[in-house]
């Protein structure tokens, strides 16, 4: 009895196909309000990694590649359904352990994880497939083309995922993409969130061991080149999340015919029109935006770092900044921000100091900030501009006569722009969106929803699955010629 309890307390931060034998592990103990857990991670070697790659590749060929897309979707859905049950054991473990290893507020993790999982249900996956392929059947067999002939799409045999750890659970999305393409997957998890990818694979194994045998998730120290190379040598595609340096390094080392998709650092912002600041609307607007700033402490590339606020509403831009401060304080009391490193706190203090000193001689700026620590910071600017923030609930508020004024300030950061949260009337939405799209923004969303992308979105402005597949065409001539060889032909 005692031993089973002990076993329950051991969590594998990895997943490998059955048959792979890992000998040595290192263990990290984490104390949660629900007791201590032991997080186990294997000590890897190049040879072992190569063996794992071969194993998942073999499993893909023998099993995963034979499944229909519908069957795969059903199996993923079954795993997601387990996670949507609050009593599911692995979900409970995630809810207990993630706050400790990431520092994020437990309640926030519970809510966001649930919302994330819902985006992977069957109907969302089907929508996602339809979004990218006219008919998802092309993943299962040759389908006729409108222009004649037939085509079929093949996913990469092996996808190597290099995850980042800022938002818990995001790696699951990447793994699901790989499964939908019938690819074998090897994921390198991030040391700041090594848990969710491994747990989800374990759930898939509960649903279908054979399916999960085409997957591996392993943690190792970022930038360990011999490990990276060992997987990269066998991978047909690499999906890398992280800093521009990481992305560059991977691109440089990838073989010339390896497909590399990268999701590098990005910046997002919001625009609030005066119509969203009317007497009956302004509180809701402030509340929604405070939520965008607070969720996952602004660590997501979808989180806003600046907001343009239009003058002329019931609330001036400066009053908006003050109210936003009060709302961030309320959020802090409800869901406190993670504890920061010295460097992170200092980065916030530096920005605060800079603008506080500037404000002593200049009424154009003002700093509103949490009293004791660095929990939240709002920097008000009387003129439009654009600046990235040191994150962790630090945001710039720019006053403008029309929100459109902000566009010329953001467009110089074109290559970094991600989402824009908009709160404007319907007659302005399309017009502003068009100009933002032109400026480089790839996602327009409602404020209050900025950190939650919809299933099937064009991540960083591109296709997800389509960018990974390879097509085989049967031209009309081959079809016609084949008819000729029909022994029963007239």
């Amino acid at each position: 009895m005692k031993q089973t309890e002990d076993e329950k307390r051991a969590i594998c931060l990895y997943h490998v196909p059955t048959g792979i034998h890992l000998e040595s592990f290192c263990e990290r103990r984490v104390d949660t309000p629900h007791g201590q857990y032991r997080l186990q991670q294997p000590q890897l070697t190049e040879e072992r990694l190569k063996e794992i790659c071969q194993q998942v590749l073999a499993q893909r060929e023998n099993y995963l590649a034979q499944l229909s897309t519908d069957e795969i979707v059903r199996k993923i859905d079954a795993a997601v359904q387990l996670w949507l049950d609050p009593q599911y054991e692995l979900r409970q473990i995630a809810e207990q352990v993630l706050p400790v290893i990431t520092g994020y507020n437990p309640e926030m993790i519970r809510l966001e994880l649930k919302k994330l999982m819902r985006t992977f249900r069957k109907k969302e996956l089907l929508r996602f497939l339809d979004e990218e392929f006219d008919q998802a059947g092309v993943l299962d067999g040759f389908r006729p083309r409108k222009s004649g002939g037939m085509s079929r799409a093949f996913g990469p045999h092996l996808i190597f995922h290099i995850f980042s750890g800022n938002v818990p659970g995001l790696p699951i999305w990447s793994l699901i993409m790989g499964l939908l393409l019938k690819s074998a997957n090897v994921g390198k998890s991030s040391s700041s969130e090594p848990l969710m990818a491994a747990l989800f694979c374990q759930t898939l194994a509960e649903v279908d061991t054979m399916l999960a045998n085409a997957l591996a998730v392993l943690p190792w120290k970022g930038g360990t080149l011999e490990f990276e190379d060992a997987v990269m040598d066998q991978a047909e595609a690499v999906i890398v999340y992280g800093s521009n340096e990481t992305v560059e390094r991977v691109r440089e080392r990838a073989r010339s015919h390896t497909q590399v998709l990268s999701y590098g650092h990005k910046v997002s912002f919001a625009m609030i029109g005066r119509e969203a600041l009317s007497t009956d609307r302004f509180y809701d607007t402030v509340h929604r935006f405070a939520e965008d700033v607070s969720v996952y402490d602004q660590q997501s590339c979808l989180s806003p770092q600046s907001v343009f606020v239009e003058e002329g509403g019931a609330l001036s831009a400066q009053q908006f900044a003050q109210m936003l401060g009060a709302e961030l304080q309320r959020y802090q009391e409800k869901r406190p921000r993670a504890k920061l490193t010295d460097a992170e706190s200092l980065a916030i203090r530096t920005v605060r100091n800079q603008y506080e000193f500037a404000s002593m001689n200049d009424q154009q700026v003002a700093v509103y900030a949490s009293k004791t620590g660095t929990e939240w910071t709002v920097i008000y600017h009387a003129q439009p501009g654009f600046e990235a923030s040191p994150l962790n609930r630090t945001v710039h508020v720019y006053a403008c006569q029309t929100v459109e004024e902000g566009i010329q300030h953001v467009k110089r950061y074109r290559e970094y722009l991600q989402s824009a949260g908009l709160a404007v009337g319907p007659e302005r939405l399309l017009q502003i969106a068009a100009r933002l799209g032109e400026a480089g923004v790839n996602r327009i969303t409602a404020i209050g929803q900025m950190t939650r992308a919809q299933a099937g979105w064009h991540h960083d402005g591109r296709f997800n699955l389509l960018d990974l597949v390879r097509w085989t065409d049967i031209e009309g001539s081959a079809e016609n010629l084949a008819e000729l060889y029909d022994p029963d032909v007239e």
């Binding site: 800022n166 910046v267 660590q299 590339c301 989180s303 460097a343 203090r349 002593m360 040191p390 994150l391």
Partner: protein, 380 residues
């Protein structure tokens, strides 16, 4: 200068002379330190308007502050953004500027209406921590001194050291037009080897890195006389090339034949008027066993603060460093740095600058944005 300034200067000079033999850890000076710190705080609160505003925003004033630890340390960035001087700046005898490496447009400025306190604060600790066993030494200076840069506190420091404690054959090797004359330095070091008297090399940490490269390239090794020592300041961070402290001290041993116990790092800032030192030489010469922690004179106190709340931390815990320097009479006696370190029973350990904080996420870091920005500017 206003009479109040003269009065506070006399008080500080009196304190410096009275406790010349003590250090920043000496508890017998606690009471006098507190008293003078509060007096100086009142003075600065009255005459330094931006400092007053900063304190008021934190609800601190001479009425509410009863011990020096409660004086809010002014972030060093303030020297870039604000004019911090109790005396009119037009009458300053000199202004020291920071290097402005992050933004050349914005250099920190520290105004010095007189050098009386600065000089008194510099002299004694230098002697005590760098050359307690010598009255004068031959000093070779390999970084810009006062003749090269009038606006650098380090330049003035190096010139002062030579002026007060240098023998006649001391020399400066960094020239305004040509930079560090490595060839000349190498020749002079070679000649030194024959002598009996020890030599003191002084300069910015990275000047040594460049000279060691030169020695490696030209296959030069020097057997400096026994008792010779190496003084460096500024640290190794923030340079284009990564060099570790081990590599540097290894280089000193290999190329100059100076062992670790006779190497000393000085920790100073443009924003301060006093300096702090490694205790290596002082302790090695007196006890035979070196202590590597840092210490300062009796008119400075170092606090380690929680980087998030700025509350003081107990010994051993790592945090952000603040200095309370009574010699800083014209600006702000309390300065908040961006340095990270921890206290020990022998002083404090400097871990380096908390810079380039890596964001955990995929959000773009500020530095990268600034780079992108300047790139666009170049294109236009």
């Amino acid at each position: 200068m206003r009479p109040e300034s003269n009065k506070i200067i006399e008080e500080i000079l009196h304190y410096i002379n009275r406790f010349a033999g003590a250090d920043s850890l000496s508890s017998e000076t606690d009471e006098a330190f507190n008293e003078l710190a509060l007096q100086l705080f009142r003075f600065q609160f009255q005459w330094n308007q931006p400092f007053k505003k900063y304190c008021q925003a934190r609800r601190k004033s001479p009425l509410t502050v009863t011990k020096w630890q409660d004086i809010p340390p002014l972030p060093f960035q303030a020297f870039k953004e604000l004019t911090l001087s109790c005396e009119p700046v037009e009458e300053a005898q000199a202004v020291f500027m920071t290097s402005g490496s992050t933004n050349p447009e914005k250099k920190g400025r520290h105004y010095h209406p007189t050098f009386r306190v600065w000089d008194a604060s510099m002299a004694m600790p230098f002697h005590r921590y760098v050359m307690p066993d010598q009255e004068k030494m031959t000093i070779y200076v390999i970084s810009p001194a006062e003749d090269v840069n009038q606006n650098s506190s380090l330049a003035r420091y190096l010139s002062m050291a030579v002026q007060r404690y240098g023998r006649e054959d001391s020399a400066f090797f960094f020239h305004k037009e040509s930079g560090l004359d490595m060839e000349d330095l190498a020749t002079r070091l070679k000649n030194c080897q024959m002598r009996d008297e020890p030599l003191l090399l002084m300069g910015a940490t990275f000047s040594y890195v460049h000279f060691l490269d030169y020695c490696r390239e030209h296959n030069l090794r020097f057997q400096l006389p026994k008792g010779s020592r190496i003084f460096d300041t500024g640290g190794l961070k923030g340079q284009s090339r990564e060099v570790t402290a081990e590599e540097l001290y290894g280089g000193f041993q290999e190329f100059f034949h100076v062992k670790r116990e006779l190497c000393i790092n000085m920790y100073g800032m443009t924003e301060l008027c006093s300096q702090m030192y490694d205790r290596t030489i002082e302790t090695y010469l007196s006890q035979g066993k070196p202590v590597f922690d840092k210490i300062g004179p009796a008119w400075i106190r170092t606090q380690i603060l929680n980087s998030d709340t700025l509350e003081p931390l107990p010994d051993g815990e790592t945090g952000i460093i603040a200095h309370y320097d009574l010699a800083n009479w014209n600006s702000s006696l309390a300065i908040l740095t961006e340095d990270i370190g921890y206290k020990t029973q022998h002083g404090f350990v400097l871990l380096g600058r908390a810079k380039g904080s890596e964001s955990r996420g995929c959000s773009i870091a500020i530095d990268q944005m600034m780079q992108a920005n300047s790139k666009v500017d170049e294109r236009i």
